[in-house]
Amino acid sequence: MKRILMKGNEAIAEAAVRAGCDLYFGYPITPQTEISEYLSSRLPEEGKVFLQAESEIAAIYMVYGAAAVGKRVLTSSSGPGISLKQEGISYLVSAELPAVIVNMSRGGPGLGNIQPSQSDYFQAVKGGGHGDYKTIVLAPDGMLGQMMEPVVFTEPQFDPLPPKDWAVSGKEGRKRRFIICFALDPQELEKVNQALQEKFRAMERNEIRYEIFGDEHPDLLLVGYGTVARILKSVVREGARKGLRLALVRPITLYPFPSAVMKEKAVQAGRVIDVEMNHGQMLEDVRLAVEGRVPVHFYGRSGGMIPTVEDTLQKVMDILSREGVKHENGI
C-alpha cells in the first residue's frame, strides 16, 4: 500500500472524505485551519459540500441541520472555537443527532496560544455544554495537527448502518417527522434523560478502546494519550534498555474510559504515573479507575510545553527508587 507524507490536519480531512463525509462546515482557527483548506477543494471534487461559516456557533448549527436530514457531517476547530460550539453540541445530544467534531486542541485558557496542549480533556469527556450528557471522545496515537508523518490510507470498512428512519426530508409518502430538543413536562424530560443514560451505558459496554504497550510484568504503569502516549512509548523503550520494567496503557477512547483495564494493569504494576500536557485532568479518571488500590503519580506540562523523554524517565526512576523497586541494573 502506498505511503504518503501528510500533515496530520490533511490526513484527518482526507480520511473524512474517504469515510463518506457529505458536508463540512467550519471557521478558521489555528492550528487546524488546514482541515478547512483541504476540504474546500477536496469535497466539491467529490460532489460534496464545503461551507465556511460566519462563526463556530453557526458552523455547529449548520452541522445540526445537515445531521437532521441524515447526512454525514463534519466540523473542526480548536479550544476557543470548541468552547463556542458547546451549546450546539448539547443540542445535538438532546436531539440525538450524530456528527463528527475534531478538536485540534491548543493551549488555554482564554486565547492561550497555538501550541499543542491537552487542556480540553475535561471539556471533551465530561460533557462540555449544559445538561447531563457524554459524547464519545477519541484520542490519537501521537501529534495530529501540524506534524507531518507517513500515512497509509486503507479502505474504510463499515458494518451495514441502520436506516435513518428519524431523519427529516419533507414528509412525502410518510407521516411527518420532527426533531426536538426539549420536553417541558418534568416526567417527560426525565424519560428523555433516562433514555440518553441508557445510550451512554451502551457506549461504556461496547465502545471502549485502548492500547497496551511494553513489559508484560511491569513495576510501573504509565498512562497517557495523544502526543504524550508517543513520548511514553519512548520512555518504555528507553527504560527497558536501563532494565526498567514499564508498560503503557493508552486510552483510545477517553470517554468511555477504559477503567477496567486501567485498574487491572495498575494493580498488577503496583503503582501508576499519569502524564499529560495539562495540570492533571485525565488524572481524575485514572484515580477513579484505580479506586485507591495503588498510588497514582502525576507529571504534567502545559502552555505548549511538551514532556521530554528524559524528564519523564527521570520522574519514573524517582518513583521507582522512592518506592524501593529494584531493577536489573540496580539504579
Binding site: 449548520m62 445540526y64 451549546e87 443540542y91 427529516v168 426533531i179
Partner: protein, 251 residues
C-alpha cells in the same frame, strides 16, 4: 353547498396555546394556507425557534427541526445545503432573530441562502415574561426598562428588514401586520412571495410580521391592536422593503 372557509390541510385541528389577542396563531395559519396553495407540504422542512414561536411545530403538518435560540438560519442553511430540493423556512421571534441570532440571520441573508424566514416582531420578549427587546420602542415600559426605553442607555429600535435589505444576498424582504382583513390579505401575499422566491431559487427571503403581545404589553387585546397600529407601525413601516429584480410578481 360551497365551502367558503375551512381549516388549511397543513394545519392540525388543535387549539393554539397562545394568549388571547396574540397573532401567532393567525401568522401560522397564513403560512399553512400558503403551503397548501403552493402544494409544497411534502417537501417543506420548518425550523423552529425558542420562545413562544416554538409551538409552531405542533400546528403545521410538515417535517420540523427544533434548534437553539437565534440559530435557526444556520440550521436552515445546513438543511438546505444538504437537500437543495426541499423548501426550508424558519419561524422566529424578535428576541430570537433580532438579538441573540443577529449574526446568523445577517450572514444567511448575505450568502443569499435560498431559505425563507418568518419573523414575528412583538417588540418584547414574550415567553420569558415581557423584557425589553432590541425591537422595543423608545419609551416602551417593560420588565427590564421599567421607566421606558431610553436612547441613552438602550439605543434605538432595531430595523432588521432595512438592514438585511442592504445586503445583495437578500432577494425579497417585506414587513406586514395582521390587524385587519386588508392587511391580512397583503401579509399572505408577502408570505407567498417569500416561498415563491425560494421555489424559483432567487435567494434569501424574509417577512417580518408585526404582532401584538397583549399579556406583556399589559393591554386588553383590542387596545393592543390599536397600540400596534398607532405606535409599532409608526416605527416599523409596513410594505415591501426589497424586491430584487427577477423575484416573481405572481401573487
Amino acid at each position: 353547498m360551497k365551502t367558503v372557509f375551512e381549516r388549511p390541510h397543513s394545519l392540525f385541528d388543535l387549539p393554539y396555546p397562545y394568549c388571547p389577542g396574540c397573532h401567532h396563531g393567525l401568522a401560522q395559519r397564513l403560512i399553512a394556507e400558503v403551503i397548501d396553495e403552493l402544494s409544497i407540504s411534502d417537501r417543506t422542512i420548518g425550523v423552529g425557534p425558542v420562545g413562544c414561536s416554538v409551538y409552531i411545530y405542533e400546528h403545521i403538518d410538515v417535517d420540523f427541526v427544533m434548534g437553539a435560540h437565534g440559530r435557526s438560519p444556520a440550521i436552515a442553511t445546513g438543511i438546505k445545503r444538504s437537500r437543495p430540493g426541499t423548501i426550508v423556512f424558519s419561524y422566529q421571534g424578535d428576541g430570537d432573530i433580532a438579538a441573540i441570532g443577529t449574526a446568523e440571520i445577517i450572514h444567511a441573508a448575505n450568502r443569499g441562502e435560498n431559505i425563507s424566514c418568518f419573523f414575528i416582531n412583538n417588540a418584547i420578549y414574550g415567553m420569558t415574561g415581557g423584557q425589553m427587546a432590541p425591537t422595543s420602542l423608545l419609551g416602551q415600559k417593560t420588565q427590564t426598562s421599567p421607566r421606558g426605553r431610553k436612547v441613552q442607555t438602550e439605543g434605538y429600535p432595531f430595523h432588521l428588514c432595512e438592514m438585511l435589505a442592504v445586503s445583495e444576498g437578500s432577494a425579497y424582504i417585506a414587513r406586514v401586520a395582521l390587524t385587519n382583513p386588508r392587511l391580512i390579505k397583503k401579509a399572505k401575499e408577502a408570505i407567498r412571495k417569500a416561498f415563491l422566491t425560494q421555489i424559483e431559487e432567487q435567494g434569501f427571503s424574509l417577512v417580518e410580521i408585526l404582532s401584538p403581545c397583549p399579556t406583556n404589553w399589559r393591554l386588553p387585546p383590542l387596545e393592543a391592536v390599536k397600540w400596534l397600529e398607532e405606535h409599532l407601525m409608526a416605527t416599523y413601516r409596513i410594505g415591501e422593503i426589497k424586491v430584487k429584480e427577477g423575484v416573481t410578481n405572481a401573487c
